[in-house]
């Protein structure tokens, strides 16, 4: 892998993706997609951490890289969304560590992960609508996290929120300025990770707002059958048998 916008490290329990630049761009989309391939195909670590660098998580799109004279291209946005779906569906527990600016595309990235740890100095904001465009499929995901009313306030007013408000809304799960400690405790909380069960449960949760109950019941039964057919699940059951 030849990554230029991110750093990717794996240790026994946890893979860490560090965003090396404050802005998202097409190279970052390609790099994150390559990392998703590796995480799905080769990486054994059950947890992935996504974090920023130099005190900021990510500020999203950089308009300085756009050529205002060239016709605007929707396909780049499509590529971004495809990458988002890949991150959202990884067969791992995903954790983001938020520091400083968590803006635009950075805010969207945070919504893709299963758990968000924030330092007390964060600023979360979706400024797109005031600029005149849309905050990606953040318009779809955010309302599920915080409810339609709060989502309208954040998106339509481009309102920025701090760590405390993000915690209250459920956008942040833990505030800590001792990130090493907070991350260690969080990894312990998620262990042991059963990647299949994680993936199935997360998919059913993500689908819970738009499937009908009858459809969801069918999906649950299909997913549950897959979960209980796993050898690892059967082994656990055997261990519980009285000898």
């Amino acid at each position: 892998m030849n990554l230029t916008t991110i750093d990717y490290q794996i240790d026994e329990n946890c893979a860490t993706v560090t965003l090396l630049q404050p802005y998202s761009n097409m190279q970052m989309v390609r790099d994150l997609t390559s990392v998703c391939n590796h995480l799905e195909d080769e990486c054994a670590a059950p947890i992935v951490v996504i974090r920023g660098s130099n005190g900021h998580f990510c500020r999203g799109i950089n308009f300085a890289e756009f050529n205002p004279d060239a016709p605007m291209d929707i396909h780049g946005f499509n590529k971004w969304e495809k990458m988002c779906v890949r991150i959202e569906r990884l067969p791992k527990i995903t954790i983001s560590i938020l520091e400083g600016d968590v803006i635009g595309g950075g805010f969207q990235l945070a919504l893709l992960t299963d758990f968000r740890i924030a330092t007390s100095d964060i600023k979360m904001q979706l400024p797109e609508v005031k600029i005149g465009f849309l905050p990606g499929m953040g318009v779809f995901r955010l309302a599920k996290y915080i409810g339609l009313g709060h989502a309208k306030r954040l998106i339509l007013q481009s309102k920025s929120i701090d760590a405390e408000e993000a915690l209250q809304l459920g956008l942040v799960d833990l505030i800590s300025d001792d990130l090493n400690n907070a991350l260690g405790a969080t990894l312990a909380r998620f262990s042991p990770v059963n990647p299949t069960a994680v993936q199935l449960a997360r998919r059913l949760l993500n689908e819970s707002f738009h499937d009908s109950f009858e459809d969801a019941l069918g999906h649950f039964l299909a997913a549950q059958h897959r979960a209980i057919s796993q050898t690892s699940f059967l082994k656990t059951i055997k261990k519980e048998q009285p000898s």
């Binding site: 009858e214 999906h219 039964l221 299909a222 059958h225 897959r226 057919s229």
Partner: protein
């Protein structure tokens, strides 16, 4: 030079003229049992095309076994021919141009088989090669496509036509049993034909190459889908075990992995999924086992809703729907997948 792989050059389908909603069927045969009514309504099927008999004086369909066999034959003649014509006409071909004819059916036993009947009536050449593949059920389309494409590969530039003919309304019993209700609410009538040829000059066409196949059978469940002769009805009845969707679902990843591994492909590399419309539960089970989305399954679901389970030709109806959508690009990979008695899962890898 590297020999050209067989490609699917064309597809044609046909269904009987009469279309019924689930409520139409319930009303036509005065189904009173609320459980059976609910099975019909909960099947996620909106309409099916069927050859339905009028209700007898007791309000039920009452066809003898010989009438059912005749219906199968006549149905195959009618919509079988329409499907063949729909497949050949766009290429300016006629039955006499075909070098190999394969017919697939599980809804009525005949000797001689459908190929002989089609050759007699439709103008195929008398030196046309033939294969009748009978009694393999819903998965049979890929069990047929496998030898058909091998034949095409072995006989470059020759045309091989494969026809799936299922007249499901020619194989049923009618009673108050739950299992009967499930089967009678599920299947529809339909025929589908595909044309294969291995010829370097077809490379210009946006027609998929058939790369290879992968099969998986689950022998422990060999009776889970099966025909049974019923003396009380004097007919065959189709038995469908309630665990079938989950069993098939939980094994679905095995042949897929084998199919993709040999080219070092991943599920995410597959642009098009052409999956048999077996029923809502088996579609769900495959979605959650293989990790496919509702979008991946859109054609499978649409065919189930509009036609029901069409047996061996179902996946070709989905294939046709995919082509009509116009979103296939050169270089795209597709997977065909059918499931049925055995219990078995059959898969094929395509490349456009």
């Amino acid at each position: 030079m590297y020999p050209a792989r067989p490609r699917i050059l064309s597809v044609g389908t046909a269904v009987p003229p009469n279309k019924y909603t689930q409520q139409d069927v319930i009303s036509r045969y005065r189904v009173q049992n609320p459980t059976i009514q609910n099975i019909f309504k909960a099947s996620h099927i909106k309409t099916r095309h069927l050859y339905l008999p009028p209700a007898d004086p007791n309000g039920i369909p009452n066809e003898s076994q010989s009438e059912l066999l005749k219906k199968h034959r006549k149905g195959a003649m009618d919509i079988g021919f329409q499907a063949i014509e729909a497949c050949l006409k766009p290429l300016g071909l006629r039955p006499r141009d075909i070098d190999m004819l394969c017919c697939i059916s599980s809804t009525g036993f005949m000797l001689p088989g459908l190929t002989a009947m089609f050759i007699k009536h439709f103008g195929f050449r008398t030196d046309c090669h033939r294969m009748d593949l009978v009694g393999m059920g819903c998965n049979a389309g890929l069990n047929g496509l496998n030898p058909a494409s091998s034949w095409a590969q072995a006989n470059p530039s020759k045309l091989c036509l494969m026809v799936c003919c299922e007249i499901n309304s020619a194989l049923y019993v009618f009673d108050e049993k739950i299992g009967t209700g499930v089967v009678n609410s599920l299947f529809g009538d339909g025929c589908a034909a595909v044309l294969l040829r291995a010829d370097a000059k077809d490379q210009k066409r946006l027609a998929p190459e058939i790369i290879h196949f992968s099969s998986h059978i689950i022998p422990d469940t060999w009776r889970a889908m099966s025909y049974h002769w019923k003396d009380e009805h004097n007919k065959f009845s189709f038995y469908l075990d309630r665990d079938v969707p989950y069993v098939l679902g939980s094994h679905a990843d095995k042949p897929i992995k084998k199919l993709l591994d040999s080219l070092d492909l991943k599920v995410r590399d597959i642009s098009h999924w052409i999956v048999h419309s077996g029923g809502k539960k088996v579609i769900d089970a495959i979605k959650y086992t293989v990790g496919l989305t509702a979008h991946d399954m859109r054609h499978t679901i649409a065919i189930l809703q509009n036609y029901g389970n069409l047996g061996s030709g179902s996946f070709l109806f989905s294939y046709q729907r995919l082509l009509k959508e116009g979103l296939v690009h050169r270089g795209d990979y597709g997977v065909m997948m059918t499931m049925g008695p055995g219990s078995t899962i059959e898969t094929a890898l395509l490349r456009w």
